[in-house]
């Protein structure tokens, strides 16, 4: 299965914030949308970073005033992205290996088109195995009368 298989059951609106917004504002969005990470885009919509709950916690340890900091000072700027045609298995491996919980998806023109979470990936993997099992189970059920 490919990354696009996860995107196909998502609304397709990517939740973003700007680097100049405050962490306070960013937390507001995270809470309101019930998500674990925000994609940070510049004025032309180009991806410049990712801000995860973990980034905020890590910064808060050293910096009591974290809420007032601009997102730009807290976000991770080296963002690893995936393509819709990337194999899910490989992406899953990369995410677990590098401990990424979120992965932004860009199309071949570099446009931001979505984000997947480790939860999405694990669910897709589980569904793949369940599909095999459910097929067998349906066949077994068919054989009983």
């Amino acid at each position: 299965m490919k990354v696009s298989g996860i995107l196909s059951i998502k609304p397709g609106d990517v939740i973003t914030a700007h680097p100049q917004q405050t962490i306070q504002e960013a937390i507001g969005i995270l809470a309101a949308r019930n998500i674990g990470a925000l994609l940070i885009v510049d004025d032309v919509g180009k991806l410049v970073g990712i801000l995860s709950e973990r980034d905020i916690v890590r910064k808060a340890v050293m910096h009591k005033g974290v809420f007032d900091l601009p997102v730009a000072e807290v976000m991770t700027t080296h963002v690893v992205t995936a393509l819709p045609q990337d194999d899910l298995m490989s992406v899953a491996h990369t995410m677990t290996e590098k401990r990424f919980r979120h992965m932004p998806i860009l199309d071949s023109d570099g446009e931001l088109i979505g984000m997947i979470s480790i939860g999405d990936v694990l669910k897709a993997q589980r569904d793949k195995y369940r599909g095999e099992i459910d097929t067998l189970e349906t066949q077994l059920m068919a054989d009983e009368d």
């Binding site: 690893v80 194999d87 992406v91 491996h93 054989d143």
Partner: protein, 466 residues
Amino acid sequence: MSEVGTAENPLRVAIIGAGPAGFYAAEHLFKQKMAVQVDMYDRLPTPFGLVRNGVAPDHQKIKSVTAVFDRTAKKPGFRFFGNVELGRDVSVDDLRDHYHQIVYTTGAQTDRALNVPGADLEGHHPATEFVAWYNGHPDFRDLQFDLSQEKVAVIGIGNVAMDVARILCRTPAELAQTDIADYALEALSKSNVKEVYVLGRRGPAQAAFTTPEIKELGEMEDTDTFTISDEVELDSLSEASLAESADRGAMRKVEIIQSYAQNQSTGKSRKLFVRFLVSPVELYGDEHGHVKAMKLVHNELYKTDAGSLRPRATERTEVIEVGLVFRSIGYRGVPLSGVPFNDSWGVILNDNGRVIHPDTKEPVTGEYTAGWVKRGPSGVIGTNKPDSVATVDLMMADLQNGRYLHPTHPEAEAIASLIAERQPQFFSYADWQKLDELETAKGAELGRPRLKFTCVEDMLAAVGKA
């Protein structure tokens, strides 16, 4: 009026598409602790979607799943309206007038395009059409495939490509044991095909086909199967990724692929080559506009940021002679009139199964989707079960929260008379069962699992509707 889901006011659901996703959704709906009525529609008189018209005829065993779907169809409250197409005989507005909830499970009705020069030449076909043809799908029964050609290419190495390659390579005797359409059996019995090339753009470790399918390719009666040593030797990236994945199934698959490189010709009539790391870049035609050859570029693999191995063209090219080409590079959903569509992935625009408005991304009240038209063309029959269950669970949650349609004519008779008016020749489940009996009886006479009706008029006549 009383609450929806009671005996006086049962929950009325329309399911559009009688494939696995539709049946699994119906099954889960009937498990709910409330009164439910399900009307299932299909544009064909026959139910079961790709189980009838996609699954390869030499894979009869898997088709037994339909016995489970039959059981769902026996539930009180279930009705089948076959030969009724959404968009032709009924509209989404009609459905909204008659049901509390609507589920679209229309599958993937077309295929992905191959954008190379020469793609419009005669003799190049989508595998979707060939598959529907040999399975006796009424819309495709009149297609012609030039089986007088000796050399055939199949582009793509998914399980559908495996099906197509097998059907091209089976002997008439092997095919005669199946429920393959009678005209296809006849055409394939006269086939002149000698060599089949199945073309993968990446390497053995990235092959989309599954292990039993590649194994089966090596076990055909009159076909020798080969791979090419250079192409099946793993490159270092593939080797590393396979080792990291610790996926024993994938390793076994690679071993089988590699073992075919050792095969020697045993003098069987046909040869099947599974090729790797090659992409078609152009189809060449003869003076009649018929494909005669294909240019392939050899690929190497590179690793994307996210860790996936993708093909990249090298300088090396090759021309192979082929007179018939099937592209088997994936199915694709088609839009339904009045239902938001996500053109990027060829699915109904949805959020985990809730149909959503294109602008607001808010759910469209009472409309849902499941199966291939929800998540795209991937997964086996059973994959649709958790998928449909997840959608039905959302339907139940929405119902609880009062988010459902308020039809003006919720009575079961109202929609039945509308359909009788619009499509008097609709098929009930009883009609289908009669047809099913006829098909199996006719098949039994010939020692075959069934002999399919492949033409809607004949189906209608057989059950006295013509």
